[in-house]
Structures are given as structure tokens and as C-alpha cells.
Assembly symmetry: D2
């Protein structure tokens, strides 16, 4: 099995996801304690930005490794990988 595009950032990505998991749990804690709506919403904005940050790291790594390799390979492989990356970016931009 091949290592993924994010291989060299794997530990950093895992650390960020761990922190995001904690942030989501923290938001649940705020709701549990009936904290004010706006404070909860601000934490949700923060966690949304944090998770988009992870997506951007993964996307960078994907372009620098998987896309770069597929482009070098050319043909079908190149077209498939480009279409796939395009769809993933579209989902990110629209979510």
C-alpha cells in the first residue's frame, strides 16, 4: 500500500484533528451548561475555520504529491486525479 499525500504532515494533522475533537466536545459542554447562544456560535465559527485549515493542508499535500505524480504519469491517471481533485475543491468551496 502506498503512503498518502499527507504522509509527512500526518502527525501534525492528527494533532489538529485531536484538538478539533476537543473543541467540539467543548461546544457540547457549553450547550450542556446552557451557555449563551452567541458564545456557542462563535466557538462553532472557530471550529469551522480549524477544520477548513486541516482540509487546506491535506489539499496542499494532495496537489504536491498525488496530483504531481498523476500528472507525471499522464493519460487516464492524470485526468482521473484532476477530476477528483476538482470535485473535492468544489465541495470545500461550497461547504
Amino acid at each position: 500500500m502506498e503512503s498518502p499525500g499527507y504522509a509527512e504532515d500526518k502527525e501534525a494533522v492528527l494533532k489538529r484533528l485531536k484538538r478539533i475533537e476537543g473543541q467540539v466536545r467543548g461546544i457540547a459542554g457549553m450547550v450542556e451548561e446552557d451557555r449563551y447562544c452567541i458564545e456557542v456560535l462563535d466557538q462553532i465559527s472557530a471550529v469551522t475555520r480549524a477544520i477548513q485549515g486541516v482540509a487546506l493542508v491535506l489539499l496542499d499535500d494532495h496537489m504536491a504529491h498525488c496530483i504531481a505524480k498523476a500528472v507525471a504519469a499522464g493519460g487516464e491517471e492524470k485526468d482521473t486525479k484532476l477530476r477528483e481533485a476538482s470535485a473535492a475543491v468544489a465541495r470545500l468551496v461550497r461547504s
Copy 2:
């Protein structure tokens, strides 16, 4: 202490946050297993939409209760609450 705008949706919101926490942990698991970048990115888009969904519920409840009350109170209270809601929406739209 006053109950928050989301009081009647509290259980549903907590359930959604619990599920989102699980999704984030699931994404970490995918990274742990070196799953393909695009699959991880798609799960990140899904979790982003899920967390925005929670934000929209909280915002609805906030408008229907806290804003409604502040508007009825009028004066300073109304202005403060409207400015605050406006800033929260701006952060959501831009995150």
C-alpha cells in the same frame, strides 16, 4: 439564570454535536490508517456541513427567542443584541 434561546432544541443539538465529535474522531482514524486524501477531504466537507447545520439551528433559536425578546424590550438592549447577532452571522458567512 435564564435559559438560552436553544433550550427546546438542547437535546437535539447535543445529539448532533455528539455525532460530529464522532465524525471528527472518524477522520482522525482515517488519517491514522493512511486513507486516501480525497476520502479524508470528503469527510471533512461532510463534517463542515454538519457543524454549519448546528450553527443554523442555534441562530434560528437565537432570533426566535433572544432577539425577539430584545426587540420587544427596545432601546439599548435591542441595539446590542442586533449588533451581536449581526457579528455572529458575519463570522458564520465568512468561515
Copy 3:
């Protein structure tokens, strides 16, 4: 006919929309001249932020006037206006 929520910001909003129209025309001009993709994309990000800025002004005005009035009226009117605002915010957050 009633004046809209944005009545007092009408001139400012029109001015911003005029500027945005010019920015879009400017982007078309860049494409016409075969300007570099990344430069065009950056102008598109700028125009997206500009148009979201207009949306946020309109939304503020809508909350401060139309929603405030509907909340004061109560009943059906209040529920309809809140549902409507909620849907508009959801579309903004997700676009």
C-alpha cells in the same frame, strides 16, 4: 407600498453594487486579455467578499427593521418572517 429594511442604507448599497458590477466587468477584461489564472482567481475572491459584505448589510437592516416589526406584531407574521430570515441566512452561509 412599504419602504424596505435597507431604506436608510439604500444609497450606500447601490454604490457598493455599482462598484461590484465594475469589478465583475474588470474580471471579464482580465480574461479577455489572457491574464494569469491566479490573478483572476484573486479578483474573484475579492468580489465574492464584496458581495457578501452587501448581503450582511441587507441582513442587518432586515433584522433591525422587518424582523423587529414582525416580532412586535407576533403570531403568524412573526413565525413567517423568522422562518424566511432563517432560510436566507442558511443560503448565505452555504453559498
Copy 4:
């Protein structure tokens, strides 16, 4: 001078930008006529999605041509182009 990544989509992109310019002018017309806030906001959401659609076309073309070429070239050129694309995607995702 080199042709841009979007060369083959140039006419389609110009047509879409022309339509978007018309949509923005239409929104100004709605404001001029004091149309209801929510109707104006919905047109703004539509125009935001339309302009993001153009960005996604340009980004696809950029990856398929400029990035592909830079990756084949390797070295400095590859790194610069990847960093540049990454920053452009980040701005799109966050706007």
C-alpha cells in the same frame, strides 16, 4: 506571451462573467425599486454561487495546465506554482 490555463474555456468564462455582471446590475435594479430584503438576499446568494462556479472552472483549468506544466518542470517552478495555487484555494474556501 503564453496563453492562460483557461484558454480553451475563455469564451464560456466570458459568457458567464457577462451574465454575472447582468445579475449584479439586476440586484441594483431591485434595490432601486425598494424590493423586499429577502428577495434581494436570495439574488445575492445566486450570484455568489455563480461567481464561485467561474472560480472552480478557472481553478480546474489552472491545475490541468499550469500546475501540470510546473510539476513536469519540477524544482523551483513546481514549488512556486503549488504554493500559489494553495493560497488561491485557501482564499476561495474562506471567502
